[in-house]
């Protein structure tokens, strides 16, 4: 428990720090959001009107620390302001909409990629030196070294444009009514296939390599040899003696990988025009939608922290040695 409490305290500190960075970063960006709005809209605005608008958007000339304090207050009360681009939509609602898609995409893809990669890694390590191992290792190296943007573009080109099997973007058929209907669910699946596939492709290799190397490092351990000496079935030794232990470092590396996963999903969302957090952030940056950018980074950091915490938790569950500590 002490371990988890310590982690929790760290997460709180990290969140506060991230919130601080969040506050300063957008404020350091050049340009004036109101001006951008009207520059892109191509219409004119008199100075008085501009100031009036600024006031209503809260870009006041108050001293920085006052702005900071009120910002912190609003962060902890869950009020992230209103989007400028999608005025007057509250940022939380906008991000909430996006979060659903990202969670679905990233969650499922990570689950599949982690299971698949881990499984492949285990098999490759168990059959070290065989053709299977060579093929898996090579594919894994390849998939983990090719940029997500490249994979997504190629996937889009092949399956979206050339073969035309899947749509080129968006999360569901825009003509359909969202809801718990069969038709809608099918559309969501159909639209999610390519981004999901891409994300899985990008992630699986890394998991496979990590798992393979961890396994190989463990295979010489006495308890694994003992498992074999005990005459247990191959599968039992492989899974419960080797893989189970090799999973521990893999799980802790998962915590770091979450950043990579989020980054990967960001670019994939942009390429496939998937309406998740990454795409929202991208749009917000283009539009200099300060409240959205801030909320966005904060939510992404929070997502990282939460998933790290989940990883910590599962680590404790997986490793009996930590339970008492």
């Amino acid at each position: 428990m002490g371990f988890l409490l310590r982690r929790l305290a760290f997460y709180l500190a990290a969140f506060l720090a991230a919130a601080t960075i969040n506050f300063f970063l957008p404020r350091l960006m050049p340009g004036d959001p109101i001006q951008i709005m009207f520059a892109s809209a191509g219409s004119e605005l008199s100075l008085e009107n501009l100031n009036a608008l600024k006031l209503t958007f809260g870009f006041i000339d108050a001293p920085l620390h006052e702005q900071y304090l009120s910002y912190l207050k609003s962060v902890f009360t869950g009020d992230l302001g209103r989007s400028i681009k999608y005025f007057p939509l509250p940022v939380t609602e906008l991000l909430g909409r996006a979060l659903v898609w990202t969670l679905g995409l990233v969650g499922i893809a990570t689950l599949i990629a982690f299971s698949l990669g881990t499984f492949l890694g285990v098999m490759a390590a168990w059959r070290r030196g065989t053709l299977f191992d060579s093929v898996v290792s090579l594919l894994a190296i390849f998939s983990s070294s090719v940029p997500a943007v490249v994979v997504s573009l190629i996937v889009l080109f092949v399956f979206g444009y050339t073969l035309g099997w899947f749509p080129n973007g968006y999360a569901a058929d825009p003509m359909l009514d969202p809801g718990l209907t069969w038709e809608y669910a099918r559309s969501v699946l159909y639209h999610g296939t390519l981004p999901m596939f891409t994300l899985i492709t990008v992630l699986t290799g890394g998991f496979a390599v990590t798992m393979r190397n961890n396994m190989i490092n463990l295979l010489g351990e006495d308890y694994i040899v003992m498992g074999r000496a005990k005459g247990l079935s191959e599968g039992r030794v492989m899974l419960w003696y080797a893989a189970r232990n090799a999973l521990l470092p893999t799980v802790s590396s998962l915590a770091i990988a979450i950043g990579t996963i989020l980054s990967g999903s960001l670019i994939i969302e942009v390429v496939f025009n998937y309406p998740g957090l990454g795409n929202t952030l991208y749009q917000a940056i283009l539009a200099r939608d300060y409240p959205v950018i801030q909320g966005q980074l904060l939510i992404m950091t929070a997502a990282m922290l939460v998933s790290n915490f989940v990883v910590d938790l599962s680590y404790v569950l997986l490793d009996p040695r930590l339970k008492k500590a």
Binding site: M29, D133, V146, S263, L266, I267, M300, M304
Partner: protein, 295 residues
Amino acid sequence: MKLLRQLLHNKKAVIGLAILTIIVLVAVFAPLLTEYSPVRRVGRPHQPPSWDHWLGTTRLGHDVFSRLVHGARVSLAVGFGAGLLITVIGTILGIVAGYKGGVVDEVINFFTNMVLVIPNLPLLLVLAAFIGQASPLVIAIILGFTSWAWGVRVTRSETLSIRQRDYVKSAEMLGEPGWRIMAFEIFPNLVSIVGINFIGSVIFAVIAEATLEFLGLGDPNTVSWGIMLYNAQNASALSVGAWWDLLAPCFALALLGLGLALINFAIDEIANPRLRTGGMLARWVGMVRLGEGKL
């Protein structure tokens, strides 16, 4: 040097080094490889690959091949520049934290962990947007200053274990100054970790640069693979069927990534002999087949 010699004995490393060398040579001799300027219109828009234009032309009528070979320079420069920066920062902080311990370690470790939990690419996006029209140099610098955390983590944990070795203790007992212990006793034993960190950072930097530029946060004046992707995407290359415009930089990036990853994998194998499979397994299989023996 020893590392290099070992690398040359590893098949993966040789393939990886070969890929990298080819790309480096192409980058260095870019002007000799093509008669076309990468920034001038030399053909009609979106011509498919032909004898005149090996990889076709872009929407603006630039020669894709010429842009590709010239772009290699930027991608390599940013990759290796940022990779170096990331590695230097990561290694120094990692060794200092791991060796000094105490408050220094606590502080460095806290910041490292914090940087690790702040999502990197979104942060980069915001930073690049903040700086505006990020030139390759600027991209390399922001990458360097935001991406060192992973390096610190692995270097630190390795340093922690090396610090426990008796040779470090005996150096301390001889009265060696701290900096000497870090630089001459610990660092030489981190070579493979640092090497992996460096190559990994280079891969990361190449990818991150391409991504940032693809998202339109780069400087469109530059000729780089990321900008090529950006231009192709903006020209709707895929909708209008100009696949060469988009796929050329894609494959270049994939190839560079693969080459570097192979080298990294090989260093991993060298540092950790257990990971090696090498020729013995092939020989072993052959001998079992011949009935020379069994397990």
